[in-house]
Amino acid sequence: MNNSFKNLFNKTDTIIAIIIFAMIVFLWNAANNFDSVSDLFAQNIPPQLFPHILLITIGLLTVLIPFEHILLKKSGKDIDSGRKKKINFATYGTMAILLTIIVFSEFLGAYVTIFLACFVLPVFWGEKNLKLLIPYIILFPLFIILIFNILLGVYFEPGILEGYL
């Protein structure tokens, strides 16, 4: 494959286009498996018609993505500028922490979850100023509970604190 042909495609965008196409195929198939209704009942607008139109439109636009970098470069934009830097550990770690907090939130209940989030995230991100951290961990959750639970009446699941509250 010669270089000029290779330069036509942006590698990352080609992968993105392939992922989008895979999703289009999956959703197209899912749309084909919608329950069927008689034409008379559907008034000639079957339930899969509109999703199909959208999937075709998305597909047609996606074809352009791998080559878009050429057009953008001409207008002085670099599509790769925002993604040149690798995603850092803190971001993946944050995603994992949020996932863990949400997984356990039903068991722990809202009160403990709020305290946990106020403690785990700043500590994971490296906040070392205890003069800030300790009041924050104690006072902010209490403020949230006061505003939302007590004043606004939002129901907080007690979780493991059931029986103590």
């Binding site: 607008i45 599509i79 850092n88 803190a90 949400i102 989030a117 995230l121 490296g126 906040e127 902010f140």
Partner: protein, 490 residues
């Protein structure tokens, strides 16, 4: 006239005034905090305002929207970091003026021009919205389909680097809107046997995920960034003589901003940049631009704030959002049981005038709050990110959960947070997806009804001159880059 008085008396109730001022305070705070944005704050506010009276809830959001645009200019001027994207152009001359030892003057010019721009657009709003609604009353499903397609095509130029990716995001938003039971046939679509999906994905967790949680992931990349601040003791209002010198710049920018705001999907950022460029083009002191020119501050500020009022015109009169923030206000209106569009203005005009009143109060509110609290707001940008963003996550979680007391919504929020983060990394903006999601129902309904009326003959739509007009606009909007190139060459 009676409706105007009714609307204004609704908004002048004590509780509503307090909520509007609360919205202004949140708006200025959020605007001043880099990373936090008005759409994010509105998304977080929606679930908590759902139990409020609709007038109070929408007024609070409208006030937040107005004030958020101004709040961004505080940090743009004092730390050269626009708290919100519309303040990008303000930093170009605001920061140099502050560095030259006049931070109070820069803030004062920004505040006054924002208020004047806001009032200008509200005057246009009060006249244009009912007129537009009157025209739209004649619209049938075909015309609405044409209008919705035009609005979706405008997403191409909305924000971000790439028009193609914006359009894909918009279409994905419309596609997400198809999840759930199909209204015409009762068939379940894309529910994958998950009972919670039968009613479709609710707006709130999607909005919170895309605007708040994805931003949290972005901010986790720059937790240790340090900024320098210029100390501002107080905001200094410009003199009448100075305002007289700047009147044409303010007026021109207000006109530009209002017009840009009225266009579907074109927001305050585009207006601010155009306002700045035009201020420079018409200025007699072009060489002062970039060095602290007053025109370089009032130009973008009047434009970005007038765009906020302008964007409310298509939102309320047609049900087509004029910007990302108004898309969220539109979602809130729908959740409160309203049908935004001509019927809203014709059947409950007092409600529309109440929103107008709320925005008017908000404009004066942020001037007063800015005067009193400029020093404080310049400090909020220094709240450590490591403490600010866990708080945002807690608000996001409670907001998503409390809307329908469902953990499923919290999962939807997290999922869209992750999706939003990767979308943004690869040049796909969240705002077009949200607009697509909100417009989706209108697009499909009007499309289906048009097809039923015309017996599945798509070309019969072209018999309607208004539809043809919208299709021509759609074509022009999609081919804008081409026209721009041709004009530039010539």
């Amino acid at each position: 006239m009676e409706d105007i008085i009714k609307g204004l008396s609704l908004i002048l109730e004590f509780e509503n005034i307090i909520l509007i001022l609360g919205g202004v305070l949140i708006g200025v705070l959020v605007g001043a905090l880099p990373g936090l944005s008005s759409p994010m704050a509105i998304a977080l506010l929606i679930p908590f305002t759902i139990t409020l009276d609709p007038v109070a809830a929408i007024a609070m959001m409208a006030a937040l929207y107005c004030a958020g645009t101004f709040g961004g200019s505080i940090t743009a001027i004092l730390i050269n970091a626009p708290g919100a994207p519309p303040a990008v152009a303000t930093a170009l001359d605001g920061y140099p003026m502050a560095k030259n030892g006049e931070p109070g003057r820069a803030l004062g010019l920004a505040a006054v021009s924002s208020v004047l721009g806001g009032i200008f657009s509200l005057i246009v709003f009060i006249f244009a919205a009912p007129l537009l609604a009157q025209v739209a009353l004649e619209f049938g499903p075909q015309e609405y389909f044409g209008l919705a397609i035009f609005a979706l095509s405008m997403l191409a130029t909305m924000s971000g680097k790439s028009s193609i990716r914006n359009l894909i995001s918009g279409c994905v938003g419309v596609l997400i809107g198809t999840i759930g039971i199909h209204l015409t046939t009762g068939v379940e679509r894309f529910t994958f046997d998950i009972p919670e999906l039968e009613e479709g994905i609710s707006f709130v967790p999607v909005l919170i995920g895309l605007f708040a949680v994805s931003e949290l992931f972005k901010q986790s990349e720059t937790l240790n960034s340090v900024v320098d601040r210029i100390h501002a003791k107080a905001l200094r209002l410009p003199s009448i003589a100075e305002l007289k010198k700047l009147k044409y710049t303010i007026l021109r920018s207000s006109g530009i901003g209002t017009f840009i705001g009225i266009l579907p999907a074109e927001g305050s950022t585009v207006a601010a940049i155009m306002g700045y460029n035009e201020a420079r083009r018409w200025s007699k002191n072009k060489d002062q631009f970039g060095k602290g020119s007053p025109e370089g501050i009032v130009g973008p500020e009047a434009a970005n704030n007038s765009a906020a009022g302008g964007a409310m015109v298509p939102t309320l009169a047609l049900g087509i959002p004029g910007s990302g923030s108004t898309a969220l206000i539109l979602a809130a209106l729908i959740m409160h049981g309203f049908r935004p569009g001509p019927y809203l203005i014709n059947e409950t005009p007092e409600f529309v005038y109440a929103i107008f009143g709320a925005m008017l109060i908000a404009n004066f509110g942020f001037l007063i709050i800015g005067l009193v609290g400029a020093k404080f707001f310049s400090l909020v940008a220094f709240i450590p990110k490591k403490l600010l963003w866990p708080a945002v996550f807690i608000f996001a979680m409670i907001g998503s959960y409390s809307f329908s007391s469902s953990m499923f919504d919290v999962w939807v929020m997290l999922t869209f947070g992750v999706i939003g983060y990767f979308m943004s990394r690869h040049g796909f903006s969240a705002a077009p997806l949200v607009m697509g999601l909100i417009l989706g129902k209108l697009v499909e309904e009007s499309f289906s009804q048009s097809m039923i009326i015309h017996d599945n003959n798509f070309f019969a739509l072209l018999d309607k001159p208004i539809v043809v007009f919208f299709f021509i606009l759609t074509f022009l909007s999609l081919t804008t880059p081409l026209w721009t190139k041709i004009f530039k060459k010539n």
